[in-house]
Symmetry: C2
Subunit: 677 residues, 2 copies
Amino acid sequence: MASHPLAPLTASEITYAANLIKAGWPAHTNLHFKVITLEEPLKAQVLPYLAAEHSGEPLPRVSRKAFVNYYIRNTNKFHEAIVDLSAGRVERNVLLGKNFHANGDGEEIVAIEKVALEDEGVKAEIAKLKLPEGTVVISDPWIYGSDGIDDDDRMYQCFLYMRDPMNSSEADSNHYALPLPISPVISTESMTVIRIDTLPTGADNTIKEIEPYQIKPPNEYIPEYQKLRTDVKPLNVVQPQGASFTVTQQGTSSVLAWQKWQFRVGFNQREGMVLHDVRYDSRSLFYRLSLSDMNIPYADPRHPYHKKSAFDLGDAGAGIMANNLKLGCDCLGSIYYLDAVLSDDKGGVTPMENVVCIHEQDAGIGWKHTNYRTGRAAVVRSRELVLQSIITVSNYEYILAFIFNQAGEIDYEVRATGILSTQPVDDGVEVPFGTLVHPGVLAVHHQHIFSLRVDPMLDGYKNRLTYDEAHPMPRSDFNPHGIGYYVEETVVEESGGYDLDFDKNRTFKIQNAAVRNPVNGKPVAYKIQTPGFQKMLADKDSFHHKRAEFADHNIYVVKYKDDELFAGGKYTNQSRGGHGVRSWADRKDNVKDEDIVVFVQFGINHVPRIEDFPVMPCEILKVHMKPVNFFDKNPALDVPPSEQNFNKSVLVSQAHQQPSTEATVGGKGEVCCSSKL
Amino acid sequence: MASHPLAPLTASEITYAANLIKAGWPAHTNLHFKVITLEEPLKAQVLPYLAAEHSGEPLPRVSRKAFVNYYIRNTNKFHEAIVDLSAGRVERNVLLGKNFHANGDGEEIVAIEKVALEDEGVKAEIAKLKLPEGTVVISDPWIYGSDGIDDDDRMYQCFLYMRDPMNSSEADSNHYALPLPISPVISTESMTVIRIDTLPTGADNTIKEIEPYQIKPPNEYIPEYQKLRTDVKPLNVVQPQGASFTVTQQGTSSVLAWQKWQFRVGFNQREGMVLHDVRYDSRSLFYRLSLSDMNIPYADPRHPYHKKSAFDLGDAGAGIMANNLKLGCDCLGSIYYLDAVLSDDKGGVTPMENVVCIHEQDAGIGWKHTNYRTGRAAVVRSRELVLQSIITVSNYEYILAFIFNQAGEIDYEVRATGILSTQPVDDGVEVPFGTLVHPGVLAVHHQHIFSLRVDPMLDGYKNRLTYDEAHPMPRSDFNPHGIGYYVEETVVEESGGYDLDFDKNRTFKIQNAAVRNPVNGKPVAYKIQTPGFQKMLADKDSFHHKRAEFADHNIYVVKYKDDELFAGGKYTNQSRGGHGVRSWADRKDNVKDEDIVVFVQFGINHVPRIEDFPVMPCEILKVHMKPVNFFDKNPALDVPPSEQNFNKSVLVSQAHQQPSTEATVGGKGEVCCSSKL
């Protein structure tokens, strides 16, 4: 059976694409593949396919294509290619120019670590630290960043740490608690150390000679080194009749159905989870939903820290860094796992097991009303469907989730956790751009700025972006007491960046003006509720600002163009800017009642607390998308009432908090809110 | 055994207080009691008591006192009294002056409904509607509000609705879907209708003659009238070893202990849940936490709607309106309920069963890190303790909860649900201050502005309020690339109102400058993360603005004074302002390193969606309080690792989503993140 046009590449498609590329080069040419992934068909081809699919008509043929990035290994020859898998030919294969560099990959990063630690010059610098015998030094390769100074070539900047020297055999010792002031720079062409930076460790940018290391205490996060609390009792989530969702696996593509929702789940090296063709009760809502990119610029202006500004999707990849999720560890309840297959650096495949976990969760009360005259309460609980993926980016973790509920709402949730990126600091030094989180350890302030890509299809693909504002009415005969206010809607006509304004209750909505609510005649819409945050602090002339094209506005709206998926541009590593959403918005396209794409930015300015170390409690961010006059009443009105015979709750007695028999035989547990049913 | 000084009044204390008041009046004087509640002792008395309590020293004697409000029934003679229960005497008993009015109470509201519906004049107006035979008309008494026009006396404004005329026997028919244009005004002195307002139903403020009612469809919310979805499968929360918390009931007071947290729970007529003496790991954090008040002003400027501005705590009471929570309906899992006893209008007692439910919930992953070198993941789940209370204010519901976690964080959560306050509107009319949610039904825009009272005691009661801001560094030799930024702390010196500023990442913190973090020397602190919202829209000269003294700033800080608990003033019903937090802040007290109180405002501008009718899906608001350099590392570091043998998750297979046996016998379920343990 033919793959769905939006299905990720199969293992054989990946290797076939690689072989077609290899065949174009002399034998024994050593190619370093960076990505081999689905080249999504033009939307103009997919829309009729989806229409046919949903109406049961014969499906048009859409050819399968692969997008390929590769180098001639250990050269700067970086290529972008499109392979037509259906036709069995390379459709396009171009050498990219100056300042276009590929993401890092696992094999490369391990090799870079090795180069750094085996370099004689680096060893000589480390020797000056006079570390205890047997100390294990760790190298964390960092994306080099951009400052315009001798940085046209592709490089890595490594930061060095060590395991607890008193416990060197502990492979999971938290080396971030023991940073060292030495930073080797490595060329990916020569795979040699081309420079060794010494790090500033004082309050200013003075670089001191490397001195013998003053022994510092460790700060471990693994459980063996903690006195664990013993008073947490088990809490199990049990679904005796199984889960309420169904997953239909169609090759590498999965169709999910749950509580009137239906959508297709894909997975790729860069974005990880991608949702396509999101529908509710057979009405189309979104053509495509995915995390587009994120940027993490740091506050320390001193060399080489001034270059620290990561694009974790563009520079590495949310798919390839996805954790293999474990039942009962990462996921609680009745869990369904999705696997994926991605490419490796040699044109082979990397099987990715359990990269997405799917489960339901209770989200408290969904709605309730009590008629105080009769005492009757009507109450339903809110059930949610969660698709979760967790990525590890060296020191840091992101827990990424799409969450659906029974009221037609979608949340995108990010949980930031993991370990802070740390650097050495001299005793007694205080700086206004970082927090001392451990003796000798500075955690520098940094921003996390995320961009969620929303490609809407609200009852059709011609949509508009609007925003509502609430304004006080002037005093008048109509408003004599000065209390009136009104809501005014503005239609966004032109592509561009737009911002929240809480003082005006500015609320962005995606609308289909051609489809009206049957009751009140308003255009059907979804509103976007996104939390306030401080945008990019780096100045407009800085490389940080130029590169993070999404970081300066809460909302960007552009007219749809195929191949414009990544808000920071397709190639973010050591990028110069000019290829992301800010540049697309500058086209000043008409976006009123067109095929539009909305990029929603959110984030935090992470001013580290000592409580964020040695590992950080999740900081939770959520973007909500909610129907506004899209339905004709509360879509969760038909959720069955919350009842004890369904929920099986247990009454806890005072003594020892043991379940009391009373509960199961009624008593307080007996009378139930919808007892009239 | 003597009651704890902070324990709510017992039933006998309530009746004793009432009897002492009654004894001061001639026999047969008919008193209408509004509230008989604990008069909390002066903080100066409680602090030494708590110190003795926690150090196991002999407890100082603190006399028990009752706060009493009452009328000579059906007069304007409104009294405030303090009764010394220990001494058995009335300590103070004063007649309050003009424009001081009491809250409504249940018995009164039922009586007002009756007066409205039995009034001949009202019947005559209703007759003009020519409603079908047997139609049941419903009267919703509303707090009268203030406009300065003949409103010195205490009144109610009633809004009339009807049940579905085709189904008049349905006592739970949603009458808010069938509003009528007649609004009787009733005096609580004469208990008679003193005026009948006709409501504007057009786009302007024209008042039309009452015309025969054009029959409209119903819009029911109760389950019998829905085609319920059938595909939600049960989800049970099971704690086989019981809950992790303990409740120690000390008379009317309950001491809760959970995961290093300890606090005392009280409950009163006005605030409902009150938390006292909140400690973590024996360190004091908060003297008192409670919802102080809320204000809901409406946008329609036309008479009589311009007076709609409710203070649901001050005008009615979050305690007395608390729902009797049902196991398995309002609460899922292993539940412990708290009961309370409040006063009634005759000086007797009203037993309040199950007004607070206490349970644990899983909150997803608490923290995680994977060492990509060894592949070892360390992960813990986040367990939360929830204290939930639900209040019904006529048409509307609020679900109020304090939520504690294992990382030393406290959330205060509000879920807004229930039914919109509706009014009749002519066919085809559109107004910018409301949404048509059903044929003939207008739901007017309104604000919900909440005030959370935080009385801090971070390692002692002398605290300060500060705020951090992040600013870009100017370009310089130190910041040559324009990317640097720094965080600057400002100490709030004077009582006043302060606001968020997302563009500066302004973050408010409560600090104890006298206690320093052992590692980084920073003052111990808790930060307040509160969402942005649009503040009071009514203009500064309006009664709405004058009365809602908390509604114009995100944060108010004042120097502690006994008896200053309620941000909108002690008496909000038909209030004029001048007695709330804005007025207290105007004292310009020094609040640096003093005993301070912080009022945190949050809310929404509710622009109704048709999806909010006939009953509204919960709109969720959260205020977070998080430690900042209060501990010396992640307080949740000692949470045991998340493991399958503890969590008992189940692997779901594709076919029919049934639990697969595979899961329990290992396979994917076997390998667990902390398998090394």
